[in-house]
Symmetry: C3
Subunit: 350 residues, 3 copies
């Protein structure tokens, strides 16, 4: 690996990324930092008005602000439509991905019949099986396993110990973090006579372009047809995507979310952490599911869906649960008060 | 690896797997496919009557049907008791496990005093520690670690980067997917003076025959006695089995389920995805726990148990949560309406 | 690896660990065992009075008892303040960590510019990148990856296939189990024009001393500032710690718990299995969160917090959920009974 952080004059950043420069264009910017931790050479940003108060006293050399905040500081400022997105772009500029030296490490094993592009970097202890294809500028971290006839698209980067099972397809510019497992068998079992028969999982995983897969996330291969992750999907750590799921383009899914078999998630959805999606259902485009919620049936229209139970002091919560269990009885009591006793219910019982 | 899919005449499949053949026995079958995606050479199946409608228009060469559906198509058909189980068997026939070439890869490390059967295949970058025993026809994928005195039974197959810690025992015909960890320390800590003392975990993990373990699933070793997974258990991805748990034979557990320490799960249970089982409790044979439910006390009889909260539109859900928090007050109001004011409660307050 | 279990006379154990010895000091103790599974040579313990009944009939050679239980057996006994902590200490004495032979395995790759202490043991298939520092007596299991400029403090032990990304800092005496991933990118994405822009994650993970990290647990690096795990924290398996989280000293967190971005957990907390902590909130010192609960807002004072829903037979549970959904209507009916119809609500409707 080489390269690493670069520095830019503030004016150079604006020349590359746009926005309006207010004040001195000369400050040399070395990194991005929060208002509170910034020092000289740092570019900071205000993406939420509640942090405007930290502008006073920041030691940043410059600040990214929304248009409506243009007068909020005397520091050199970049004024733009969306300071958070601008911060992301500026951080990419200042922190280019390290370039790995191309080549196959002497302690990697590439089987005959695998194709590895000459600009790709295959790390030590990687195994690339027969028929696999590794695209241009792909980086495989140490200890990755790429199965037979699997494909990794150009400019994709795999962290250490990533497994891509046979025939899986990963698109271009993927970022896959350590320990992720792409294309393990789906959980296909058929009951017979009190035992389980394993159902061979003969579909694939097909991942589009510009997808990120978090550490230790698992995406299972399809039973018959494929499991599909469309372009631009972002997956956090420790997510489970079961067989034959389809995740629509540009959907983001947070850690621990689980998508059960054959569910179809729309495009531009946001699935919160530890949310669960039942199998064989469909979720429309543009749906938000809040963290920890469990979607048990199809959702036909965009919007936010939830079944969050917020924690309370345990003694209060215990009372709530007790009340919940008594709800049917309470309803009966209200019915009696209304003079409409339930058929067969003995009056006076509670 | 070699081999891969095979082809059979339809009549050959029936000769091997049973069932009643209706129509032409000659079609050559190359694979299984769903009714909708099938083409010539494909065998399809109807395991759920709601998919019977897809029979019209399928391009499959033949179909597996239940006895009651025998007249549902003019295509060649296999009629049987359980089309889903038949599909599983036929898929196994058509997709035999690839045979790995026996031997220890030149880039594997097998320590002195380990026993590796001559028919076993140890992949590159595997480490087999002193005293470990690898049975006949076992396949270790790339990058597996098998600890001291661990045992892997014959015909078992481990995916890439599987860890089997020291003294763990894996039975015959296991399938263990990438990233699974067998026999890491249980979470044993004792509080003393505001700090935690680590309790050495000296038990083992003992896994029976015909067990499947999903990708990135973890099964901890026992504190003193063993953690036990009985024969025929099927575990999906990213499951956590804590120390000293016992899972009964032929129980199936879906992804993300967590079984806390010393819980005992019966045989022939079905534990849904992301279900949680409290520690130190017992669950009877034949229990089904629905996905995401939390079992907090022992279950003494077979049946289905649940604490699922289905997601709703967030605004409606927020009202429900507010109502839930007001339940105790509502009960008080009903009590007052009934003329039974709670002692000490001031009348008229609500 | 060498060493393994040792044996001690009962009197030697008391000489080293304290406590009051009652009866024969000569029994040779080989291991710790539960009262029920113990045999000759075993030391057992009673940490919970409900197990006192098992004292009758145990075959243990000696027993650890609380002061109040001193007359409970005729077996040789160690009487102490806290039998569970004593058990932990005795188990450590009897089961010293195996000593790995120092040195870098011939099949490990240590890049130029990495520093590996001469007493450290680097296993086969490990990759130690440029600028990384591996402390005295550190043990790296097979297949670990330690990134550029990462640091592993003295006496730390990493299991197989652990990833420590670039610049991460691990303190002294850490125990990190197989498949854990330290320092992968946090889930930082900014929306722009219907797509997601990746935000470079330039902070680090900084882990204090005496921390344990369970198998397949993931701890993400900070976006700008660091993610911090303080001294003495104990993390179980398959936990997710998001970017910029801080976990206070001596807090213990059980399996599957998830801590969202920028949350701050106090010291001496106990977070139950599969509990979830919302991002950007603070939890005071000494807080207990029960298993599966979801903390959605800051907790300012010590105590126990919960949102546990215990599973019930599914038919009963279905009624409860139906009642829950009808709660708003029920409240309206009570309001009408009280003679206070809701504005705009038609009388008589239910």
């Amino acid at each position: 690996m080489s390269s690493g952080p670069r520095t830019y004059r503030l004016g150079e950043i604006v020349a590359r990324l746009g926005g309006e420069l207010i004040g001195d264009q000369d400050p040399e910017i070395r990194r991005i930092a929060t208002l509170e931790s910034a020092g000289p050479g740092d570019l900071s940003f205000v993406s939420n008005p509640k942090y405007l108060k930290h502008l006073t006293g920041t030691r940043a050399s410059a600040v990214i602000l929304a248009r409506g905040q243009r007068g909020a500081t005397r520091l050199p400022a970049i004024v733009c439509d969306d300071p958070y997105a601008y911060y992301a772009r500026a951080a990419q500029l200042l922190n280019p991905e390290p370039q790995a030296a191309p080549g196959i490490h002497a302690q990697a094993v590439v089987e005959a019949g695998a194709e590895v592009a000459s600009s790709a970097a295959v790390g030590p202890f990687c195994h690339v099986a027969r028929g696999a294809r590794i695209g241009e500028r792909v980086v495989l971290g140490p200890g990755c396993a790429v199965g037979e006839e699997a494909q990794i698209g150009e400019d994709s980067r795999l962290g250490p110990s990533v497994t891509v099972y046979a025939r899986s397809v990963v698109g271009k510019r993927a970022v896959i973090h350590a320990g992720a497992v792409i294309g393990a068998d789906g959980f296909g079992i058929a009951p017979q006579g009190g035992r389980w028969i394993k159902i061979p999982q003969t579909g694939r995983v097909v991942i589009g372009d510009d997808v990120e897969v978090g550490a230790n996330t698992t995406i299972d291969r399809g039973a018959l047809d494929d499991t599909v992750i469309e372009d631009g999907v972002k997956l956090d750590n420790q997510i489970q995507i079961a067989h034959n799921v389809r995740v629509g383009a540009h959907t983001a899914i947070a850690a621990f979310a689980g998508i059960a078999g054959s569910a179809r998630i729309g495009s531009h959805c946001a699935i919160g952490g530890a949310a669960r999606i039942m199998g064989h259902i469909e979720i429309a485009d543009g749906v938000t599911v809040t963290a920890t919620s469990f979607v048990t049936k199809s959702i036909r229209s965009a919007g936010t869906y939830s079944s969050v139970l917020p924690a309370e002091p345990a003694q209060e919560w215990a009372k709530t649960v007790a009340q919940l269990r008594g709800l049917e009885r309470l309803t009966g009591r209200v019915r009696e008060l209304e003079g409409r006793p339930k058929p067969g219910k003995r009056k006076g019982k509670r």
